[in-house]
């Protein structure tokens, strides 16, 4: 299936992953507060502003750390994706670098991604994706950070210098407007440093739509057709093969009916036993096709008219409000 998509990058600090990056966190050492081999900046947490005033740490002076004076448990970010209700694929890639000390429950860093319905913002994570509390899934015994993958319902481990971990996720959102929620979990224990980077891409299936109001009972025999191109009450939002495949199948199954196929990869609306005269304006506004192509003009105008009438009936348009005087 063709996909369209986009990506977002998110970073908490940056560092050079090809060299040994660390910050001196031993307060007795003469180089306390110095960060080594940073590409740009890491985050350094030191809440004691009496002993270590803001700006006094060597890494602050050198410009290779961002000083935090408060201890936060985690940082979250969101990606708002309103692109489609169709199948989506998430791919995320993370790198993280943490405190060099032995990992404990308090300085574990990880990345967690879930989803949130815009329609139901109180539902932070889709429950089916999270088995158990995120905290429990996030942390594990043995000094390792574990990250919960909501799609595979599995947990993978992240050590204190994870570079280039990649996860594929695939899900079918059930409502328009889905937020992808990400969170860098890093218990910012005092006197720690942290850097993480995530590249999150998402792709949306751009499968063509069959626009043909099927009678579910009448066409019950065409199980294969329904399983291939789907079936929807509105006769519009159906998934399927590529447009050429669907056109070939429909020519065999429905040579005497009127139907249309919208290829939303090439943005072409194919018309069979139809011409643009029979295509309702609301459908054009909805699909915004770059082109319409007439595969076959109507042999019988009544067939084309029946297609239009049934399509309009199943997609009753709400009239625009009357203009105020």
């Amino acid at each position: 299936m063709p996909f369209t998509g986009s990506y977002i990058r998110y970073a908490l600090g940056t560092w050079d992953s090809t060299s040994e990056t660390y910050c001196q966190t031993n307060t007795s050492a003469s180089d306390y507060g110095t960060c080594y081999n940073t590409h740009e900046k890491v985050y350094f947490v030191q809440s004691d502003t009496t002993t270590y005033p803001v700006g006094s740490l060597p890494c602050e002076n050198a410009g290779n750390c961002t000083r935090f004076t408060t201890v936060s448990w985690y940082y979250t970010f969101t990606i708002l994706d309103n692109s489609s209700t169709k199948k989506q694929v998430l791919l995320y890639f993370i790198r993280s670098k943490h405190h060099v000390n032995v990992l404990t429950l308090d300085n574990c860093g990880s990345l967690l991604i879930g989803t949130e319905s815009v329609a139901n913002p109180s539902n932070i994570f889709v429950p089916a994706f999270i088995s158990g509390s995120p905290t429990r899934a996030r942390l594990a015994a043995g000094g390792r950070c574990d990250v919960y993958d909501p799609i595979t319902n599995s947990i993978f481990s992240v050590n204190n210098q994870t570079i280039g971990y990649r996860v594929n996720m695939e899900y079918y959102p059930n409502a328009l407007g889905l937020k992808i929620i990400g969170a860098f979990f890093n218990a910012m224990k005092n006197n720690t440093f942290f850097a993480a980077f995530a590249l999150i891409s998402y792709a949306v299936e751009a499968s063509p739509s069959l626009i043909m109001p099927l009678d579910y009972e009448k066409y019950l025999a065409f199980d294969e057709l329904r399983s291939v191109v789907g079936w929807a009450a509105d006769g519009v939002s159906q998934y399927g093969w590529n447009a050429d495949d669907i056109v070939r199948v429909l020519k065999e199954l429905f040579p005497d009916r009127a139907w249309a196929v919208y290829d939303d990869r090439r943005y072409v609306l194919y018309l069979y036993n139809l011409t643009p005269d029979y295509v309702p304006d609301w459908l054009i506004d909805k699909l915004s096709p770059t082109a319409m192509k007439v595969l076959q003009p109507p042999a019988d105008a009544a067939v084309a008219k029946a297609w239009l009438d049934e399509l309009n009936r199943r997609n009753a348009q709400i009239p625009a409000p009357a203009e105020l005087p």
Binding site: P276, V279, I284, D285, S288, T290, A291, M292, K293, V294
Partner: protein, 67 residues
Amino acid sequence: MSGKDTGGKPDSPRPPSTPPVKKKVKIRKGGKWVDVDVDGEVVKGRFKYVKFVDSDDGLETYWISTE
């Protein structure tokens, strides 16, 4: 004419018929600007389309107009 002789010059012979000159329009197709000879225009919804026969597939085609 109703058959009444007006006394004017006889009708000059009609020139051989020539096909009407089609309007040329540029469309954005396959990432390139292409000149097409259009047979008409259709307005559907918010959009205006130009009609022509696509030489690539021989199909009657309505392409979104950029004019």
